[in-house]
Amino acid sequence: MDRSEVEAKMTDLLVDELGIDRDKIAMSASFEEDLEVDSLGVVELLMALEDNFGVSIPDEEAEQIGTVGQAVDLVMQKLGG
């Protein structure tokens, strides 16, 4: 899976699983401030990433994610890309 595919899938997950407006989503968008994802939403997102990308994300690594782009980076790294 290349980066553009991960980005597209990440965007779909944010829309479908977290109910975020598609036009608000940019790679630079911060989950907390721009997308208003609260702590429960972060857990939902991690579960969605694990389910959809077949990766495992420990809590301490999850805490490093601040933006959509950083989440894509982490998934790419887990996928060995």
Binding site: G19, V43, M47
Partner: protein, 418 residues
């Protein structure tokens, strides 16, 4: 000076309508909201029918991102409350001191039952780490009250009543008491339920509570009829805005009715069966009438609990006779559940709304499917067709598993001091 409590806003989502007026029209026409269950595959279930809320779109009321986090029960109560708040014309800004004098009491029998079932399914099938972080907030019964306090900035008393099928009647009664004792000026009061899922249908079936007239869904809920065979599960919510009378008059609010009486009692008898003879139910009614300062002959209409179970309808009839004597035979009594099914914890609020609209319009809705009355049920149940009748004082009954009994009395609002 005694603080009096009036009703200044109404809202509902239920099987007959998605707003107050369309519900009321359908109820007066005697329509049934019961049909085959579409929420899940009913193969293997004893009861396959329910009164579902059809085509409900939560995003009409709730932002998509928020709506998907809520149990269906919370969505119903949120929507009904938004209607009621808009109807009453109240709004509280962030720093409004009045917001601290506005609160919520919600009643629900079982809270987020659908979410509970889904959460347990996920845990069993996929393990504990796949349970949603929202599972608990979707399940707990009080969350509807918490959510509407957040949405509408209601910072006063905030609580939840869980007394099975008496829950939202108790919520309204308790909310009125909070206003009377000066703990609040405005209260959002009501309740809801969304129990149409595999676990609840199986559980109520095993308790032998549900009708199995599966081939005739519209005729299945038949309170007081000799051929009744159980209640039909319903879903939905109703909300009343209660307001201290002077507060409402000062802002020129539209006043639907006054809440004048609230009575409670316990059967102290059995978890599902009513006390034979209806003594517990009778004491709740008696207490409500006394609280209202009225005599039984002043009650012009009784909205019965009227579930359509064998035990409820004959016992409630006996209880009405015990309280009203000969006047029982002169008082129209009808069951909303004949049309809406049984909204469990939401029933008392929806049926309070019926009493209020009966007072407003001088007409009472029928008990449908009453074709062959049980000899033990010999009162005037307004069979099958609505009836124009002046209503000054209306009483609604709600009785819950566990032997919880509640009755409320609503009165036409009088402008003169009494």
């Amino acid at each position: 000076m005694t603080r009096r409590v009036v009703v200044t806003g109404l809202g509902t989502i239920n099987p007959l309508g998605h707003d107050v007026e369309s519900f009321w029209k359908a109820a007066l026409e005697g329509r049934s909201g019961v049909g085959q269950i579409t929420a899940f595959d009913t193969s293997g279930y004893k009861a396959t029918i329910a009164a579902e809320v059809k085509d409900f779109d939560p995003e009409q009321y709730i932002e998509r991102k928020e709506a998907r986090r809520l149990d269906r029960y919370d969505q119903f109560f949120w929507a009904a409350t938004q209607q009621a708040i808009e109807d009453a014309g109240i709004a509280y800004e962030d720093d409004d001191p009045a917001a601290h004098r506005a609160g919520v009491v919600v009643g629900s029998g079982i809270g987020g039952m659908i979410s509970f079932q889904e959460g347990v399914d996920t845990m069993r099938q996929r393990g504990p780490d796949r349970v949603s972080p929202l599972a608990i907030t979707q399940i707990i019964s009080n969350m509807a009250a918490g959510l509407v306090s957040i949405r509408f900035n209601l910072r006063g008393p905030n609580t939840c009543i869980v007394t099975a099928c008496a829950a939202s009647a108790n919520a309204i009664g308790d909310a009125a008491e909070l206003i009377k004792r000066d703990a609040a000026d405005v209260m959002v009061a009501g309740g809801g339920e969304a129990p149409i899922c595999e676990f609840a249908v199986a559980g109520f079936s095993q308790a032998r509570a549900l009708s199995t007239r599966n081939d005739e869904p519209e005729r299945a809920s038949r309170p007081f009829d000799a051929e009744r065979d159980g209640f039909v599960m319903g879903e939905g919510a109703a909300t009343l805005i209660l307001e201290e009378r002077e507060h409402a008059l000062a802002r020129g609010a539209k006043i639907y009715a006054e809440i004048v009486g609230y009575g409670m009692s316990a059967d102290a008898y059995h978890v599902t069966l009513p006390r034979p003879g209806g003594g517990g139910a009778a004491r709740a009614m008696q207490n409500a009438i006394e609280d209202a300062g009225l005599g039984p002959e002043s009650i012009d209409y009784i909205n019965a609990h009227g579930t359509s179970t064998q035990a409820n309808d004959s016992t409630e009839t006996a209880a009405i006779k015990a309280v009203f004597g000969d006047h029982a035979y002169k008082t129209p009594v009808s069951s909303t559940k004949s049309m809406t099914g049984h909204l469990l914890g939401g029933a008392g609020a929806l049926e309070s709304l019926v009493c209020i609209l009966s007072i407003r319009d001088g007409i009472v809705p029928p008990t449908i499917n009453l074709e062959n009355p049980d000899p033990e049920c010999d009162l005037d149940y307004v069979p099958n067709e609505a009836r124009a009748v002046p209503v000054r004082n209306a009483m609604t009954n709600s009785f819950g598993f566990g032997g919880h009994n509640a009755a409320l009395v609503f009165a036409a609002h009088q402008t003169a001091e009494t």
